[in-house]
């Protein structure tokens, strides 16, 4: 099988939710000598991009999106030992610490964003839901994160994003970029709390994260 064929097969596995089969394809790609970055960008990432586009155009729905996310996770598990090595990690776009802010237990939007970011080639550290500002700071510091991405659905919890930006500033993590996500987040709010960018949907969030991350090898 040619390298292009295996990359196409990887893309198809993500688009068709082949959770088990994708593992073998990643192994095969590695045996063929493909670098993790190629596998992610030209195989898995292409698949997730297509899934995201199909979701936006109404061809795919939430079950399809979450099934593709599960398939991406399955593929990344195979690559995890390689990516954990310094030379492997350097192939990623950078580390993102992501979570739903304190007081908010909604996770679906955050999970969609995490899956797309993973597919795009970020090292995604998902802190889950109801995450306190201090925890964002600790994890960003511990993982040398390029980006802290926060999600909030409720109008009452959106202000807690400001606590996180303040805590990052207090910890002098000024180099860490802050990305806000959530349907109701506005430009005014983003500017008010000193965030670097905001996105009302996950696909936009991925594009913004690419821009915020800058070049590789600096995480």
């Amino acid at each position: 099988m040619s390298t292009q064929a295996i990359l196409d097969a990887l893309r198809d596995s993500i688009v068709n939710f082949d959770v088990e089969g994708v593992k073998g394809k990643v192994e095969k790609a590695l045996k063929l000598g493909l670098q993790p970055v190629e596998i992610i960008e030209k195989g898995i990432g292409r698949g997730m991009l297509e899934v995201g586009q199909r979701y936006e155009s109404g061809k795919y729905f939430l079950p399809e999106l979450m099934s593709a996310a599960a398939t991406t996770k399955s593929a990344m598990e195979v690559m995890e030992p390689i990516l954990r090595r310094p030379e492997g990690k350097a192939t990623l776009l950078g580390t993102i610490v992501i979570g739903t802010v304190e007081g908010d237990l909604h996770d679906i939007g955050k999970n969609i964003a995490a899956a797309l970011l993973m597919g795009a080639g970020f090292d995604v550290n998902d802190l889950g839901i109801d995450v306190a500002a201090e925890r964002f700071v600790q994890e960003a510091k511990a993982r040398n994160a390029k980006i802290v991405a926060m999600s909030a659905l409720l109008t009452t919890t959106i202000p807690n994003m400001g606590k996180v930006t303040a805590a990052l500033k207090g910890a002098r993590l000024t180099g860490v970029k802050v990305l806000l996500g959530g349907h109701h987040v506005t430009r005014e709010f983003s500017e008010q709390i000193g965030a670097d960018a905001y996105a009302n949907d996950a696909m936009t969030g991925v594009e913004l994260a690419r821009g915020l991350a800058g070049p590789k090898h600096s995480s």
């Binding site: 939710f17 959770v19 729905f61 079950p63 399809e64 979450m66 007081g103 237990l105 679906i108 409720l154």
Partner: protein, 312 residues
Amino acid sequence: MKDPKTMLEVQLRNLREGLSWGGGLFVDWGILIPPSAFGAPVRYDDKHMPWIEKPIVKEPKDLEKLEVPDPDRCEPMQKAIECYFYLKEHAPEDLRESVEFFPLLGPIDTSALLRGTSDFMSDLLLHPEFARKLIEIATEANIVWLRKINEIAGGLSVVKLGDDYAGYVSKKVWQEFVFPYEKTIYDTIPDTIRWFHTDGPRVQQEGVLESLAEMGVDLLYGLHPEVNLEGAKRRLQPLNIAMAFGIPPVDILLRGPVNMIDEWCKKCIQVAAPGGNYALGPSGGDAPGTPIEHYLAVITAAEKYGKYPIKT
């Protein structure tokens, strides 16, 4: 939330100020029942509705541990019943007839809360039998609870069912995993008026709105702001299904200003009210912190533009 006395006071205050969409009193335990009746842990705080804190179904074998709750023995259901009788006893006399339970949380949302939304959504495609079994158990719990509240109420005239995530699936998944179970629940109590709510914008895909007629739905309420009001009206009016939605709860109702709310309400009424079968209302739940003046602006607009014949 846990205190029926506070619940009554708050609802009476809202009613006095004309700020209740329903116009009556209800056991406001949000989405607690039935997921909490299965043992899912609940988070309470001062600012939000109670919420199921974490899923309890991690793998298929956990389904065996799920017992359909018995309303006569299950604590959350017993508490809700106690609350219902408290409201009945302590409400002003003219409002006692209006006391009711919160709309049923349908089998899709119940399953999503028990399993975790992301995992449940992928189960629908990757592990359909697992998902189906969970939905069947959730449906059974809905039916048992519905029968109980029907008995307590001395015969329900309206059955209200809400399944937010049902509106995020394809028509194929809807037909297989949503439609049959929602219909079974409604059919438990025949000859009732049927209200249905879902948050998902995909409910407007071809064939799904139409299938509501087969479910016997009379009113569709609180739909996602992305649902096209004009399109929904065009498709639902021939089926004699009424609608109650149209005002985005955050972008319009929360943020205002008042003149924008007035304009928005006017447009909703002009589009959806001709021919009847429309109630002006929010698309989705109310956003905490919405100023009272904004609600009053809706009432003013309804009075101003909502008189028949509607001026378009």
